[in-house]
């Protein structure tokens, strides 16, 4: 069985259907990309996977490692191994980066019946991972995302991913707001986290990101459904022709 199995997923916001029957399965170790025009349901899919309130699943199922994610709250899904790298990381005034990470790690340990993490060892581990992503000590001491540039916010997301070591990562428009240098740093960070036991779903509007994070499979999402699935060549095709075919197809 695949690590992530989405079957016939329907979801709506305020009674308005957005996802209209998504089927998707991702094997352990694979990176899939979802590309699509604005309004196709890309971000909705990421929030539905992470368990955000306000998105009602009306049909279908999502299973991670055989566990039913739809039965879990957002925090339980995170503990089970889901990680959403946000398109717009939220500012948390008064909560330092270090506290945020420690609370997140301890929530996992608590769920696993383990003691809280040793403070010194944790600090060392976080600093080492932060360094490779260009996240400074000063950023870790500051309130999460407060006063961070677009690039700093995204690097901070990837740092959280590195520290929390999830099984399944959703990267929602991680390339948005990044210049080419920042995109490189973030992509290298993501690539370093690719491993046999970990799957990723990279959501993006542009092919550019996929030059840096090379997916195994690409899906085109439009009108709330996956319209086409293929290999890397699909991204190039979209780069050339745009989404016009898909936007019109179901219109």
């Amino acid at each position: 069985m695949a690590l992530l199995e989405i079957e016939n997923l329907h979801a709506e916001i305020d009674g308005k259907p957005i996802l209209k029957g998504i089927d998707l399965s991702i094997e352990a170790g694979q990176v899939h990309a979802i590309m699509g025009p604005n309004g196709s349901g890309k971000s909705t899919l990421s929030y539905v996977l992470a368990g955000r309130d306000g998105y009602e699943v009306t049909e279908g199922s999502i299973r991670l490692d055989g566990q039913d994610l739809l039965e879990m709250e957002a925090d339980e899904r995170a503990v089970a191994g889901v990680f959403l790298a946000m398109q717009y990381p939220v500012e948390l005034p008064g909560v330092t980066g270090m506290t945020f990470l420690r609370e997140a790690v301890n929530a996992r340990r608590k769920a696993a019946g383990e003691d809280e993490i040793d403070a010194m060892g944790f600090l060392k581990m976080v600093r080492a991972k932060a360094k490779t992503l260009g996240v400074t000590d000063e950023m870790l001491k500051r309130a999460v995302n407060v006063g961070f540039s677009g690039g700093e916010k995204k690097r901070n997301e990837i740092l959280q991913m590195a520290v929390l070591e999830p099984k399944f990562c959703v990267l929602d428009e991680t390339d948005s707001g990044l210049d080419i240098d920042a995109l490189k740093v973030v992509s290298e960070g993501v690539n370093a986290l690719r491993s046999a036991g970990r799957s990723m779903l990279v959501i993006t509007h542009y092919q550019r990101l996929l030059n840096h994070i090379e997916p195994d499979v690409i899906h085109v999402l439009a009108h709330g459904r996956i319209q086409k699935t293929g290999g890397k060549e699909l991204a190039l095709e979209l780069e050339q022709n745009g989404y016009a075919d898909y936007v019109e197809a179901a219109a």
């Binding site: 957002a74 503990v79 939220v90 948390l92 005034p93 909560v95 609370e103 997140a104 959280q160």
Partner: protein, 432 residues
């Protein structure tokens, strides 16, 4: 028109014929003011959001004896010289740091000149009935003088505790005077606690000299049945710094009023605080900043957390007199409502008569933000814990302004202690 409640609060006041002439005069005037004004009603602008009917219905009695006072656990780690006022009486005074002189205000027959010249001159009794009652009725308290040029590193911790008696409410009127002479520096921490039902009607007068610095930090953690009515009045001179912080967590009804006159140039006035209320608590903060001279800066940030049916009141006024050019004033009150039944009345007010000033004020009311909660939960943190973290972080923004680190830590611990008792999932102290 002396009302019954005022007379009841004045019961047991020392006769104005007692004590030295200067004090007798001060007391006589104050009693006249108290009796003329009566206790304020909601038609009095300054009290429009705070109904005193429950206090007026009391028939308070004088306190009985004194009791040992223990610091709240959150302040346990603070290295400080302690002064204890139990039921209004000075019961303990540690050896005070070099440069600090102390006088007990229980019948100050032979009070030195600096006491006679300042006591009752800073806190106005004409417009403030409770201050008038305190001035007429105080039976004890302390006066402190920080000698010219003295730098007092060790904070002075004043523990004010009131013990109610069975079947009646007690009334006490503790009085504090601090004179910080030119170029001197000190930190005063006031902690108000108690048990049972009582009225703690406290007045603190402060004189801060030229180039002097006073850190003045207050924790109000009265009993849940208590009425806490307090006035702090400060007079600041040229180039002085007054760093004020107040955290209110206790009392059935609490009113903390802070009035400062910036009577010199280049004064830095920092007035920050927080109020944490739950159940049926009523918590009123009133601040008045009088920019009387040019080139002064005032910074004010209050953060409130109101749970259950708690009612918060914030009235902040900044007056910029015609002479006070180049005034830099900032005032902000932010309240977080954790329940639909919690309530806040916020009334910021600017009155500006100078034309070259920079003043801003504002007030916000909000709930916890969904996107912040989701962000924390999406990292595995439970909803309860996420809420508690965000509430603690909210208050911490104000506590952060306390200039002295050990004192800041103590207040942080006091806030964490409140969170642990009243907000499910709150992290232990130091968790945020």
């Amino acid at each position: 028109m002396s009302d019954k409640a005022t007379l009841a609060l004045l019961t047991g006041a020392p006769s104005s014929g007692d004590g030295p002439q200067w004090l007798a005069t001060v007391r006589r005037t104050a009693v006249e003011h108290a009796e003329r004004a009566g206790l304020p009603g909601v038609r009095t602008e300054a009290w429009k959001f705070t109904n005193l009917n429950a206090l007026k219905a009391l028939e308070p009695v004088a306190p009985r004896g004194t009791a040992e006072i223990a610091r709240p656990a959150s302040f346990g780690g603070l290295d400080a010289a302690e002064l204890h006022l139990s039921n209004g009486t000075l019961t303990r005074a540690d050896a005070l740091p070099h440069g600090v002189e102390m006088v007990s205000l229980a019948g100050p027959d032979d009070a030195p000149g600096w006491v006679a010249e300042t006591l009752g001159r800073i806190a106005d009794t004409d417009q403030h009935p409770f201050t008038a009652i305190n001035t007429g009725a105080f039976a004890g308290g302390v006066a402190l003088r920080i000698a010219r040029g003295a730098t007092v590193e060790r904070p002075i911790l004043l523990l004010v505790d009131t013990q109610g008696v069975e079947g009646a409410a007690v009334a006490t009127h503790p009085r504090v005077l601090v004179v910080v002479e030119d170029g001197a520096m000190a930190d005063l921490v006031e902690v108000h606690t108690g048990s049972g039902a009582y009225v703690n009607n406290a007045v603190t007068e402060l004189v801060i000299g030229k180039d002097a610095r006073l850190g003045h930090y207050k924790l109000q953690a009265e009993s849940g049945e208590a009425f806490h009515i307090a006035m702090t009045a400060a007079l600041c001179a040229d180039s002085s710094t007054y760093d004020n912080f107040a955290l209110s967590t206790g009392g059935r009804l609490a009113r903390n009023e802070i009035r400062a006159t910036l009577d010199g140039r280049h004064i830095e006035y920092r007035i920050n605080g927080g109020y944490l209320a739950c159940g049926d608590q009523h918590m009123d903060t009133a601040t008045f900043i009088d920019h009387a001279k040019p080139d002064c800066a005032s910074h004010e940030l209050y953060k409130g957390v109101l749970a259950d049916r708690a009612h918060g009141v914030f009235q902040g006024k900044i007056l910029v007199r015609p002479d006070a050019q180049k005034t830099d004033g900032y005032q902000m009150n932010r309240a977080l409502l954790l329940s639909r039944e919690a309530e806040i009345n916020s009334k910021p007010e600017l009155e500006i008569y100078a034309d070259d000033v920079k003043c801003s004020h504002g007030a916000t009311v909000g709930e916890l933000e969904d996107d912040q909660l989701f962000y924390l939960m999406a990292r595995g943190i439970s909803k309860e814990r996420a809420r508690a973290m965000l509430v603690a972080a909210y208050v911490d923004e104000a506590i952060d302004h306390i200039q002295r680190e050990p004192i800041r830590d103590a207040f942080r611990a006091a806030a964490a202690d409140w969170m642990q008792r009243h907000i499910a999932g709150a992290p232990a102290e130091g968790g945020v």
